[in-house]
Amino acid sequence: MKSILRLTVNGREREDLVPQNMLLIDYLRDTVGLKGSKMGCDGGECGACTILVNDAPQLACLTLAATVEGKKIETVESLSQNGRLSKLQQMFHEKLGTQCGFCTPGMIMAAEALLRANSNPSDEEIKKALEGNLCRCTGYVKILESVKGVIESNEEAAA
């Protein structure tokens, strides 16, 4: 059974005919063509598919596309503007937080959600926000440094 899904993906309104049993991750990757969000563990344990739904982080592999009707979806592709990386993305690049890159879209979106809600999180708060995101390269220290890099750079800009 299919139904019409109306929503906003990365700032653009869309209307698509989707099967009711379609996962949001499949909708984003295969229907919309945004391949940034990754299907990792396929069961809600690794966080690689983390996207933002109305500014809150959500796992696209555990979400049915039809249940985000009318909502605002943001994937990692939404962050760069006019070909320039966002500050968070730039920090993942500079501080080597990207590692092999597979977990990165999920890590960045989970960190993006944290920074929108709390512009100056403590180390513990960053770790807590990213607890559901696994990096099989085990580059957690670099990932933590990348997120902290955004906070430091904001502080420098304000000083």
Partner: protein
């Protein structure tokens, strides 16, 4: 993971409408946050013809003050529960337990009702279809024996929700709605010791809200032991409320999860209260826990380890609460 079954999604606007939908549609399932239900469906453990999406039911999404407590809607998310002002003051135990559940991202969508009704778990059940099939299935899913206790007649999958023991300590009741009407029962009467049929709900019955009472003059805490620090189910989870100081124990309430097919509200604690609580008291507490829990081979960690952990953690938890 399997391809999802074909189903239609129904979106009721009220709990009553949801219950009506469930009574009309055979093989339907309620879905709240879906953080546990979706993986189960993708593993082929659930094959509903209709999924009733509860996210549009406003009446189930609020926390309201009652006379001496709170009415927590079943669709309140764990994140909402953790950050709610009403919870921070007198119900911090609930927030403490909720914070240990899954990961930050899961808690944005996972709900109170979902965790209270969380499906029981077992290393022989939470597996892929080919794994289960090559193991001849099990009592909880299309098989004839329980691989955990092959000589027994019931499924030994473990209840693994973290909120239930904390709610039980707060004397929780649950509001249930079905096409036949509404009823309110004690939370502990919602469960039975059978992993394959652990919820005593009528067909199509929906958990609408949880009612909790304030604990006057108690100190509370929740401890969860698990393999991974985040995104993991409890090997043992213990909630305790203590009234007393130093060595004097006036009242004690203990709830446990992860050890049985239902959450355990520890019975017989009244006999330990009303006087000095010393080593004899701790020994008696350990004996109560020892007798009432039944950790089985449902997790990769051996059952004797979980038993030992349950005894040690309950002793430490009650001791710490008394001291502070």
């Amino acid at each position: 993971m399997e391809v999802l079954p074909d189903f239609e999604i129904l979106c009721p606007n009220s709990a009553e409408e949801a219950a009506q939908m469930a009574s009309k549609k055979g093989e339907s399932r309620y879905m709240a946050g879906g953080t546990d239900f979706m993986p189960n469906m993708r593993r082929g453990l659930e094959k509903p013809k209709a999924v009733i999406d509860l996210s549009g039911i406003g009446e189930m999404q609020s926390i309201e003050k009652t006379g001496n407590g709170l009415r927590i809607g079943a669709s309140v998310t764990l994140q909402q529960l953790i950050s709610a002002d009403e919870i921070k003051s007198d119900f911090s135990l609930l927030a403490e337990a909720a914070e240990t559940i899954a990961g930050t991202t899961h808690r944005q969508t996972a709900t109170v009702g979902g965790n209270v009704c969380l499906d029981t778990r077992c290393q022989f059940y939470n597996q892929s279809e080919w794994w289960r099939k090559s193991n001849d299935y099990c009592l909880k899913y299309e098989g004839e024996i329980c691989h955990v206790a092959p000589t027994g007649k019931i499924c030994r999958a473990a209840f693994s929700g973290d909120l239930a023991p904390a709610l039980m300590v707060h004397g929780a009741k649950v509001e249930l709605t079905s096409a036949k009407g509404t009823r309110t029962i004690d939370l502990k009467d919602l469960y039975q010791e059978d992993g394959a049929d652990y919820l005593l709900l009528e067909p199509g019955e929906l958990l609408v809200a949880v009612l909790v009472e304030k604990l006057e003059g108690y100190k509370t805490a929740y401890r969860k032991v698990r393999v991974r620090g985040g995104v993991d189910f409890p090997l043992v989870g213990i909630a305790a409320a203590v009234k007393g100081n130093g060595t004097q124990l006036e009242d004690l309430r203990v709830g446990l999860t992860g050890t049985n097919s239902k959450p355990v509200s520890l019975e017989g604690t009244a006999d330990l209260c009303g006087g000095s609580f010393d080593e004899t008291g701790f020994k008696a507490l350990e004996k109560l826990v020892q007798k009432q829990i039944q950790p089985m081979r449902s997790t990769f960690s051996p059952s004797h380890y979980r038993r030992k952990v349950a005894l040690n953690v309950s002793r430490r938890l009650v001791g710490n609460l008394l001291e502070n």
